[in-house]
Each structure stands twice: as C-alpha cells, then as structure tokens.
C-alpha cells in the first residue's frame, strides 16, 4: 500500500494555474510558464514542510484533528507571519466555481452588515471547563455505568447474534482474570464447557447475575407499576444504561408476552406502559435490537391495528396509543429496515391490506392509516391519497346515514380527522394553487371541502414558518413522541380527538402521563385500576385465537396477518394460549405446567368477580410472589423451552 502511495507523494505538486491565479490576485499579471513551474515546486515543498511541523503541534496538543491554529504555530516557527483570522464555521470553507474552462476553489468571504451583527443577540457563553470523576475500574472490574463505554459494543452484539461461532466475549477472553465476582463461577464454568465443545454452536448463556435479576425485577415492576415517577426513572434507566444487553432477551419477551395478554384483557394502560418500554429500548444507543425485532414488531403492530384495545371503546382514548405505536413503528422502520429484512415494505403491505379490506373495523382502519401516515409523505402520497374518496364515502355513510352504533360513529370521526391531518400537509406541498373547494370535492369526494380548508391552513402555516427560518436565531427542537392520554370528560358526546402534546426534548426524558380526569366509578372500573402482569415462559410461537397479530418469528416472507380477536365478552380476563395443541383456559391453572407459566395479578379494585385470580389475596404480596416466581424460574425456563 505504501508503495503505491509514495510515488504520488513524490510528484504531488500544486498546479501551475494556481500560481497564476495567486499572482494575479496580488497584482502580478502575465507570469511566465517557467516561473510558474519553479514557483509551484517551491511552494509545494514549503507547504509540505509547514504541514509536517503543524502535525507536531497536533501531536503535542493531544488531538487527532489538525487545526488552523497548528498551521499558525508552524508558520510562527518558521518566522512567517501567521494567517490571522482564518477561522471558519465549516470544516472546509472553500467554494467551488467553474466557468470558461477554469475550475476554481476559493474562500468565500461574505460582506457582513454591521447592524446585523450588533442586533443579533449574543451567543450563549460556552460552558466552562469542569472536572468530573468516575470509576473506570474497581479492583480490576469496569463498572457498567453511563460514564463508561458499554461492556459489549453494538458491533460485538451484532457479531454475536449473526456469527455465534466467531463471537468472543471480550469480557471473558481478554480480561479473563479480571472478570467480576458477580459473574464469577458460572461464567467461568460455561466458558470451559464452550471450549471443550468448540466445534458445536455454543449454547448461548442466559444466566443473569443476582444484581441483574434484582435490577430486572425492579425495572419491570416500575415500568408497569402505578407510580409514575418511578416509571419515569425506570424508563430513563432503560434508555441510557449501557449494560443492559444481557437482559435484552428478557425485556423483549416481557414486552411481547405482556402485549399478547393485555390486548386480550383490553388493558389500555398496560399496553401504553409496554410501548413506552419499547421506546426506551430503542432510545438506548448501546443495544443491538435487531435480534429481537421479531418479538417487538408484532407487539407494536398489535397496538396499532388491534380491533379493540380498551374496555370501553366509546370512551377510552385508545387512539393515542395507536398514534404512539404508529410513530414507534415508523422509527423501527427507519432504523432497522434493510434490503434484507424488508421491514418497511412488509409492514406497509400489512397496513395496506387491512386498509383495502371492506370489512375492517374502524379501529383497525384508523390504526393502519396512522401506521402508513407515519412512514412519511411519500407513503401518504402513493397509498393514502388515492383512497381518500373511497374512505370519504365510507365515513359519509356512517356520519350521515342512520345511526347504527355510537362506536362506529366515533371511529369514523377519528379516521376523518386523522386523514385530514396527515393528508393536508402532503397536499399542500404537492398540489398547485389555487385551492378551489369544488375542485377538491371533485378530486377527493366527501372529504374534499374539509380538506380544502385544512390545506389552506397548512399553507399559511408553512409560509409563517418560512418567515421564521429567515431570522438569525435557530432553535432546534428534537421531536420526541410523547403521549398524553386523557379520557373524555363527557360521556354522552363523542370523545375528543386524540390529545397529543409535544414537549420539547430536554435532558431528562419527557415524562409521559396518563391523566385520568374522570372519577372512577365502581360500576365501571377504569383500566388503570386493574393491572395484569402476565409472564409466559413459552417462547415458541404460541398462537391463540386471542392473540391478534402473529408475525412468524422466522422472518419468512409471509406477510403479517392480522386477525380480529374473537372474544365477545370484553370484560372477561381470559387468557388463552395454545401450546402444542393443548389450550389453557383459566389463568393460574397453567402455572402448574412446567413449560408454561401465567401469573395474573389483579389489584383490589379490579373486576375481581370476573378475574379468577382470586387465589392471590393481597396486592402487595401478589406482586412479590409474582416476581419471585419469575426470578427463580426464568433462567432455567428460557433454556428449556427452546425445543
């Protein structure tokens, strides 16, 4: 490699045209060709010399980047006046121009209006240097704290998941004697075993240390518990902690099983909590999630398109959950979709299919539209806009036709506002002016007139924003989807539109609150009061009639199918999981089996008459026992069940 480079180094000389241009810039015209050649050689040599000296300053400055200051110091070393004021915001401040057969790179110096400078507010004073101490290592073991890099990097996790034979855990190989006492004996043993059967695919070890088990227990409890502050903390921990990769399979199973059961239970609050966990996991930069998408995506898609997510569809705001999950789905597609796994196209296909189906319920329709809309304006343009008139007709039929059911009406309302919201901005960008109501009606049918007014509004807003951009100050807010769920105050009239408040991101994670404004009446217990935590240790693809979405875990090309839940009595907390042909109908009964375990915890105000988990006497002990059982049985269970 060096051989190829060196001749280049030898012959690299500035072009003579540059010399001419430079000479002209200082007022020397008509430079002879020989002069140019001589000059360019001399100048190139000097530049190389200065660059070499500048490198010295970079090394002593303990940096990897050469700065203009280094060049200045090198010039000073040679007794040459440094270049004053050569500072630039950009990395390479040169502009390129060509014309008349000449190509030029020049340094653009804009004329600056003094009044502009005076009038702009002073920039924020940069933060002062400060000192922070942390433990890089404690008696040879590096603690997994945010200040330290993740113990296993993302690349490492990827290698482990894709090529398990090659994977070498750095913690075990390189720092063998340094290994922590926490993992001490077990990991050493398993290592020895792995070595002896090194030709076989090594069994992936899933033992968690005692600390990790405690942590897992605390985190999962807090995430689905009732204390919002605790939950915020737990989610923050999931989103930032670098040492979670070992627990990732557990979290993934927790979420997918949780969704599977709580959809059946129509437990809206818990579904929201679980989605927020997904979000937190995605926010964690140290986790390699690809391996667990087959569990997470069905869970998320379920929360988008499930026919029913809450106990009282006419009142509870499950729309917000669908929106949130749709945004999550979009994020997943953006981050993980590759040409190999085709996540985005498969998801799009699924949504489109349910959208095209005439028999689709309003809720599912809403979900699939939301899911598609979040994927971006292009998707809206190609998949939703052409269907506007059909959907419009369908909405019209419900709104203006004979009243069949209140629920349908609400659903149609929501779909309508959703369509208006997403389509208006896209139309505003693509459709030429003017906005003629009749024209719109002709193009989009029933929704045309409303769409027209929305588009006008969107255009006005865009113009306003464009104005603001021209100002000197620029605030960048990172949009983070946050979810505020509010239950309608009035019961009679249609529920409000989903109330989504965007909070500008700050250092701490935005706290998502579930606001329950309506007093809880004993006759109709509201969802937050009931809490189910369901753990299933069966990782095999157990398909049940109640499970709404099933994505084949082998990631085959088969499309995701959404099946409508068939349970009729929505208040029945029925857990039905088919496993190897047998069906377990009642919760608790399954606990006796070795392969499957269901624990349903119900809090006191729950509809205890229906829930048959009456064996659990008090809520606090219930929670404890749950987790204990879980903790003791999980490690072994996960390895057993993979048959």
């Amino acid at each position: 490699m060096a051989d190829e480079r060196r001749p280049k180094q030898c012959s690299l000389v500035l072009p003579t045209e540059s010399m001419k241009v430079m000479a002209e810039s200082v007022g020397v015209g008509q430079l002879q060709e020989e002069c140019c050649v001589a000059l360019s050689e001399e100048v190139s040599y000097r530049i190389k010399e200065i660059a070499q000296d500048a490198l010295k300053f970079m090394h002593h400055g303990k940096r990897r980047k050469l700065t203009t200051n280094d060049i200045d110091h090198a010039l000073k070393l040679k007794n040459v006046e440094p270049l004053y004021g050569f500072q630039s915001q950009e990395f390479i401040p040169f502009r390129f121009a060509s014309g008349g057969g000449r190509e030029l790179h020049f340094y653009e110096e804009k004329e600056v209006d003094l009044s502009d400078i005076i009038n702009t507010p002073l920039p924020r004073v940069p933060l002062d240097v400060s000192l922070k101490a942390h433990w890089l290592s404690i008696e040879g073991v590096q603690p997994a704290i945010p200040e330290n890099p993740p113990p296993v990097s993302k690349e490492q996790q990827k290698v482990e998941s894709t090529e398990p034979l090659k994977a070498v855990k750095p913690g075990q190989e390189e720092e063998g004697p340094v290994q922590g006492k926490g993992q001490g004996v077990t990991s050493a043993e398993s290592k020895g075993k792995e070595k002896s059967i090194s030709r076989l695919k090594p069994r992936s070890t899933h033992e968690l240390s005692v600390e990790q088990q405690l942590y897992y227990k605390e985190i999962t409890e807090a995430c689905v518990g009732s204390c919002e502050a605790k939950r915020a903390e737990a989610l923050q921990s999931i989103a930032t902690d670098p040492g979670l990769y070992q627990m990732l399979p557990r979290f993934s199973t927790f979420i997918s099983e949780g969704v599977r059961v709580n959809v059946v239970q129509n437990n809206l609050a818990l579904l929201i909590y679980l989605m927020r966990m997904v979000k937190a996991l995605m926010d964690n930069p140290t986790l390699y999630l690809e391996k667990y998408l087959h569990e997470l995506i069905p869970a998320v898609v379920t929360c988008i398109v499930s026919k029913q997510l809450c106990l009282r569809p006419d009142m509870d705001n499950h729309w917000a959950l669908r929106d949130f999950a749709a945004r999550l789905m979009a994020q997943i597609c953006k981050t993980f979709s590759t040409t190999n796994n085709n996540i985005q196209s498969r998801i799009t296909k699924t949504f489109t299919k349910s959208l095209l189906d005439d028999k689709t319920q309003w809720t599912t329709r809403y979900g699939s539209i939301a899911g598609l809309a979040e994927l971006g304006p292009d998707v809206i343009k190609t998949l939703i806009l052409p269907r506007l008139s059909i959907e419009g007709a369908r909405i019209k039929a419900v709104v203006e036709g004979p009243v069949i059911s209140n629920i349908d009406k609400i659903g149609a309302d929501h779909v309508q506002s959703l369509l208006l919201k997403h389509c208006a901005s896209v139309i505003a960008k693509t459709r030429p002016l003017p906005d003629n109501v009749d024209q719109y009606r002709a193009d989009y049918g029933y929704l045309g007139s409303m769409l027209c007014s929305h588009v006008v509004k969107a255009r006005a807003q865009a113009a306003l924003q464009a104005q603001q951009v021209n100002r000197t100050t620029l605030t960048i807010t990172q949009p983070r989807p946050t979810l505020t769920l509010s239950q309608g105050v009035s019961t009679g009239s249609g529920p409000r539109t989903p109330n989504i408040i965007k909070v500008p991101s700050s250092l701490t994670l935005p706290v998502q609150t579930l606001v329950s404004t309506r007093p809880v009446t004993p006759a109709q217990p509201s969802p937050p009061a009931t809490k189910y935590i369901v753990m299933s240790t069966s990782t095999a693809a157990a398909t049940s009639p109640q499970v709404v979405i099933s994505l084949t875990s082998s990631r085959s090309s088969s499309p995701i199918t959404s099946t409508a839940p068939s349970s009729t009595s929505t208040l029945q907390p029925l857990v039905k999981v088919e496993h190897t042909g047998q069906s377990v109908t009642t919760p608790g009964a399954g606990g006796s089996r070795t392969l499957q375990k269901y624990i349903v915890v119900s809090l006191p105000s729950a509809v205890s008459s229906e829930v048959k988990a009456s064996s659990l006497s008090s809520p606090s002990t219930a929670v404890d026992s749950t987790v204990k059982a879980d903790r003791t049985e999980l490690p072994g269970a996960s390895t057993h069940s993979s048959h």
Partner: protein
C-alpha cells in the same frame, strides 16, 4: 535551599550565567556550551558574536575556532575582531587550529546542535569530516555553500546509482541467511545518502526515479522520514531541511558482526564499487562486534531511530541508579505515629514495622550515588511533616499484583473543546493542574479543601504574627474556590508540573517560556526564557528546586528555580525533545525525542550516559520505576518499551495500544505499569513479570543482543476503555489508587 549555594555546582553556574547574560544582551538566540559540558562543541550562530568567558582548554578552544571560522566565512569582520580580542587568540593560530579542529571533529561523537533551526544549516560545522574539505573546496567555486553539503559534491554518473544499489541488493540477497539480516541494515542509510547525492548534484529526474524504484524496499518504520525526503527534490531545499541535516551531521550507526562486515568489504572491493564504499566510509559508522550475527528480530527491535542504533560505548558509562538514602526524621515520626495510633486504638502494632523501614533506608545501596553528588535542598519543617504523612499513607498502601489490580478513578475534563494539552497531579493527589491550548493553566482541588490565596500585603500587616494559627490567618477566605485559573502564557501550554512541596507549579508553552507559579498567591513568579521555540515538556525534580525542560530547539535545559539561566544544557538529540523525566534520585534526567531515541543525562557533568534506540516513532512518555532501575517509554507507534538502566539494555516490549501512548506510570511499589493512550484505553501491565522474565547473562549484557520474548499478552493485566476520552495523564496515589485524566472529545 540556601545550602545549595555552597555546592560544587556553584562555580559552574556562574560561568554559565556570564555567557548567557552576554548573549542575551546581544538580543539574540544563542546557545552556549558551558565549560562543564564536555559534550561536543556547540556552534553559536548569533550574528553579533557571543564571547566566551571560559578558560582555556582544548575543547573550548576548538569551539571558539569553529565560531571564528563561521564568522569569517560569513564576513562578520567586526565580530571576528571582537571575539578574537576577547578570547586572546592570535590571528595566525587560526589556520593551524582550524586543521586541529577538523581533526578533532572527526573524532567527535555527536553533533552539537545549535538552537535555531533555520540557521542550523550553517552551523553544523562541528562534527563531520566534511569540515576538512570545506576550506579547500569552498574557496574555489562555492564561497557560500554549506560546508556540510559539500561532501556530496563528488561526482558520479547519476545513471549508475540505480545499478549500484540494485547490485548491492542482489549481493545481500545472495549471501547466507545469517548475514542477510545484518547486511540489510545498510539499505536504508545507503538509499538516503545516494538519493541526497543525486538531489545535491541537481539530477532531479534521476533522483525521483531512484526514489520511486527503491523507496518501497525500506522498512515501514522509516516511512515518516521517507515522506520528508520525498518532498525534497531540489538542492535549494536541502539547506533548511532538518531531517536531511540530521542525517548529515550524525553518522548513521550500524552494528554488524565481523563476518558480515568482511563479506561486505570483499564484495565491494571485488566490484570496485567505490561509490558505495565512499558513502560507507564517510557517512556510516559501523560498529563491528565479534560473535554470532544477529537475527532479523533482534535487529528490528533495536533499529528505527533517526541515526541508527546506539554505539556500544555510548551505553557503557556507569550509572548510579540506586535511590538516595531517606533523611532521618525519626523523632517527629514517633510523635505523630503515636498520636495516630492512639486515635486508632491499636498502639503497639506498628512500632516494629516502622523500625524495619528505618533500618532498610539506612543501608546504603551500592548502586546509589553519593548523597551529596547533586546538592539537594534542605528539608523544611513542612517537608518533614509531608514525609511523615507519606509514611503513614504508605503503611495503608494496597499491595498490587496480578491478583489485586488497582481501582482506577478517571477525572474527565468536560467542555474542554479539544483544548486540554497537559495534566499533572500533586504527589499527595490533592490538586490537579491542567494546561490548555488557550494559554491558560487551571488548578483544581480534588479534596473538599478549597483553594485559597494569601491575603494582600496591606491585610497581612494587620495580622497578629504571634498567634498560633498564623498560617491559617494569612489565607484569604474570600478567595476560596474549587479552581483557579492562571493567566500568563501566550501560547498553548504543553506541560505542567507540580513541585513536590505543592507550593509551586511549572508550566511550559508554545511561547518558548517556562513559568513558575506560586500556589500560595496564584500568580506567576518567574518566566524562564532560554528556549526560543516551543517548549514541549517540563518536569520538577523529585526533591524540588531543580527542573528540566525540553522543546523544539532539541536542547534539554536544567534549571534551578532561583536562577533565571539554565544550569545545564543537554544537547545531542537530533530532533525535538518531546518529553522529560527526572530519575527518582534526581541525579539523572531522561529525555525522549522525535528522533526516536531516549537519552539519559548525568546532571553532574552533563554527559549523555545512555542512548536507547528501538522506538519507531516520536516518544511521548517516560516513566522510571520507583527503584530507579528501569525506565519505560511510550511512543506514537503505540508500543511501550522497557529498559534496564544499569546494563543499558532493552528488556521488554509491551504491544497492545493502537495509538500514541501519552502517559506511563509505575505503581508506588513498582508491581504494575499503567499506560494511557490516545486510543482511549488505560492498560495495566505486570511489570514484575516483565523484569523477571529477562535473564541478563554476561553475554547479552556485553553485546547488547537481547532476545525479546513475545509475551505482551501475558503481561497485559487489564484494558479499560474510556468513553471517547484520550488518557493524557496517570498517577498512583500514595495508597496505590490509580488516577487517570483526560478530556472528553465527543
């Protein structure tokens, strides 16, 4: 500290000061070789003509003659007259002495370098045999030409150069395997000299062709130098080029066994290959030894420096690497200890331990220098108190080893914006100093005790000086803060160092000065001027008072805090001095350089007593083992090398880092070597094992042919990644907790 004034060094100091003062008065950069430095004469380039106050003595005479010659050549008639008058040299003696000088210069071992890079071109008169040829040739056709370069003026047919070189290549490839590795060493120096000859004689195209054809054959670690060479295609460029001049002013040293050498000689004589023979004669120094030819790996481990390997004689001098006897401060120790023990409630236990420690220190180490070889400052009461604290802490020290690794506490500098350039901790780990690219030095207190400065003079007058807590009263409570900023430098600060008593802080900077700051008043006390170019590193002596500095001018200087002129100047490196370190007994200093060598200098007489070659990149960190026997050095190539000072041998190579090693530190007992690097890792190495594994029998000690075991992986005890934070400094607390520091670079 006053006691030092009576020391034997005193006389030397005065001499130094006189010459320096004169030079400074002339307002010119000058380097003067003191009479006390028997290292080769240093030519001064100051145009105003520095005068020499030193006495007679053949060496000085020669220096003077060199200066005179130079001045004459440049037509500084006035300066010549003045110098001659002051030195009392007769005009006729000039010529005769000139010959003498040339003759002696032939024997001169190293080039003394002048301070100024630009003028260095004309100042290299000192060491090459070319000097002899200069007057004759220079007089005829090139009155102003560089004497150095004129050696190249001998003409050979440029077209034949490629033939010569490939002929030699063929020959080397054809010899027996055991000789091939040794003879391959010739390629690089020959290649460079032949290329330079071509360039010097204006055969630009041939030179380029030659370079292209053969540059690929050279060892990869010469890449940096080759890059410099590749840019150099014109005779005019040669004048100011440092790398080239390094090559010219110093003979490239090769170590070859007698058999191999005979082979080579016979071959060249058979072929009548005078061109190559001439180069070997004039520009190379072949150190012939009897015995087995060395293997490729043996050669590779030692080569890489700018001027080849060190000669064997260069590392023969006796080095007193033992530690000094600790002063006896038993009485206060007893009091303190008993107090402490009473508090702790276990009164009897520690007595015998302390006694044993005392008796150990009383035994005189045979390798230790005399206690007063270098005059050291007397201990003050506060120093004694500190010593007692040190002893107490030392008893609580954790014994480290492969089984019990140290905990590492990392101090991250946040919001430094890539500006952190140097860090130092005090010995008791109570303060951190950071040097920054924005010319500031910042001091932090890491203990809850805040930094306070002394009250102003007016306020101090009001204090009751008889009171017991007068030391407390003089401090200004209002000024208490966690950190202080010291302003004064006018360029990036590249080195900081605390004095052992924590009263002073040194900093060196791009602006060419070393500054001494008071940590009582947080003001600058002295600016030491002498280096006219960036000063890359500075370091306090472990006993205080003295400090060393080194920088771009390739000269390391030894200073005392109360002298504004250097006491010693250590010249000999062929490129920038990048790092400096005091030996624990304060009798020696080690300097690392961009010429890829480490040198050890004797403070007493200014001699270079060790030259360590083997690094393949500029050296950026040095550390002595606490017992003074070993030295570790880290370089840009990411390797850490271990050296036995007594034998002058390389004894270990630690591979693992992937970027520049910026910091090295031995644990307090020397069991663990910690290294911190630009690659964002801290690594711990088993130094005991590294030192034990080498068995230095008489043969290896005599010839220096070490065989390094490839055991870096076994010696590596731990690797700790930081989060994009290069590790700039490491420090073991008195209890063996490892502190590391660096700036977060997102």
């Amino acid at each position: 500290m006053a006691a030092v004034q009576d020391a034997p060094v005193e006389a030397d100091n005065e001499k130094e000061i006189k010459t320096e003062t004169l030079n400074d008065a002339a307002g010119n950069h000058a380097s003067a070789a003191g009479g006390v430095i028997p290292s080769p004469p240093v030519a001064s380039t100051s145009s105003s003509g520095p005068a020499k106050a030193g006495g007679p003595g053949s060496e000085e005479q020669q220096t003077l003659m060199a200066v005179l010659q130079f001045l004459k050549k440049n037509n500084f008639v006035g300066a010549v007259d003045v110098l001659r008058r002051e030195a009392g040299i007769l005009e006729d003696s000039d010529e005769s002495q000139g010959q003498e000088l040339a003759a002696s210069a032939l024997g001169g071992a190293e080039a003394g370098d002048a301070t100024c890079t630009l003028s260095r071109a004309s100042s290299c008169t000192t060491s090459t045999p070319a000097v002899a040829a200069a007057p004759a040739k220079g007089g005829e056709d090139q009155p102003d030409v560089n004497v150095v370069l004129s050696a190249y003026s001998q003409q050979g047919d440029p077209a034949l150069y490629q033939g010569y070189y490939s002929g030699l290549k063929k020959f080397v490839e054809s010899v027996l395997d055991c000789h091939r590795a040794e003879l391959s060493q010739l390629f690089y120096p020959l290649f460079v000299h032949m290329y330079l000859e071509l360039v010097y004689n204006n055969h630009e195209t041939e030179a380029k062709a030659f370079f292209e054809k053969f540059s690929g054959d050279q060892e990869c670690y010469y890449q940096d130098d080759l890059r410099v060479l590749s840019g150099l295609t014109k005779k005019e460029h040669m004048k100011g080029n440092e790398t080239l001049l390094d090559f010219r002013t110093s003979k490239f040293v090769l170590r070859i066994s007698r058999d191999s050498y005979q082979l080579l000689k016979r071959h060249l004589q058979e072929r009548q290959n005078n061109q190559i023979w001439n180069i070997i004669q004039e520009h190379l120094y072949i150190d012939i030894f009897d015995g087995m030819p060395r293997s490729k790996s043996q050669i590779d481990s030692m080569s890489g420096s700018l001027a080849g390997e060190a000669k064997r004689e260069a590392n023969k001098a006796k080095v007193f690497y033992g530690l000094l006897k600790e002063p006896e401060i038993d009485v206060p120790l007893d009091d303190e200890d008993e107090e402490g023990e009473n508090e702790e409630g276990k009164p009897k236990k520690k007595k015998p331990k302390k006694d044993s420690m005392g008796s150990k220190s009383k035994k005189q180490d045979p390798n230790a220098p005399q206690q007063n070889r270098i005059p050291l400052p007397e201990l003050k009461d506060s120093d004694k108190l500190d010593k007692i604290m040190y002893m107490k802490e030392a008893t609580k020290r954790i014994r480290l080893g492969p089984e019990s690794l140290p905990s590492i506490c990392f101090y991250t500098f946040l919001n430094a914006y890539q500006g952190l350039t140097a860090v130092d901790f005090t010995d008791d780990s109570s303060l951190i100093a950071g040097g920054f690219a924005d010319s500031t030095v910042r001091v932090w207190s890491v203990t809850p005790k805040k930094l306070r400065s002394v009250k102003s003079a007016a306020d101090l007058n009001l204090i009751d000086k008889e009171s017991d807590d007068v030391l407390e009263r003089i401090m200004d409570e209002k000024s208490a803060s966690e950190s202080k900023i010291l302003y004064g430098h006018s360029g990036p600060v590249y080195g900081v160092s605390f004095s052992p008593d924590r009263n002073y802080l040194l900093s060196c900077s791009e602006d060419g000065t070393v500054r001494l700051w008071s940590l009582q008043t947080f003001t600058c006390l002295v600016g030491y001027k002498g280096h006219n170019y960036p000063v890359w590193d500075t370091q306090f002596s472990p006993y205080g008072y003295y400090f060393i500095s080194g920088g771009h001018d390739r000269v390391a200087r030894l200073w005392a805090t109360d002298h504004y002129q250097p006491l010693r100047m250590f010249a000999g490196h062929l490129a920038d001095i990048t790092c400096t370190q005091f030996h624990p007994n304060s009798n020696y200093v080690a300097t690392g350089s961009a010429d890829r060598t480490v040198r050890l200098w004797d403070i007493l007489n200014g001699n270079c007593v060790r030259i360590f070659t083997g690094h393949k990149g500029p050296i950026h960190s040095l550390a002595f083992s606490p017992n003074g026997k070993y030295l570790a050095s880290g370089a840009t190539d990411g390797r850490v090398l271990l050296w036995d000072i007594g034998h002058g041998l390389m004894i270990g190579e630690l591979k693992g880092h992937t970027d520049t090693v910026y910091s090295l530190k031995f644990s307090r007992d020397g069991e663990i070597l910690a290294s911190g690097s630009m690659d964002n890792t801290v690594r711990l190495w088993d130094s005991i094992k590294a030192f034990d594994d080498i068995e230095t029998d008489d043969f290896t000690a005599a010839t220096g042919h070490i065989h390094l075991p490839e055991n870096s992986q076994e010696l590596l005890l731990g690797t700790y990644m930081t989060k994009s934070t290069p590790v700039i400094h490491l420090h073991f607390t008195r209890r063996n907790l490892l502190l590391a520091a660096g700036a977060y670079n997102p």
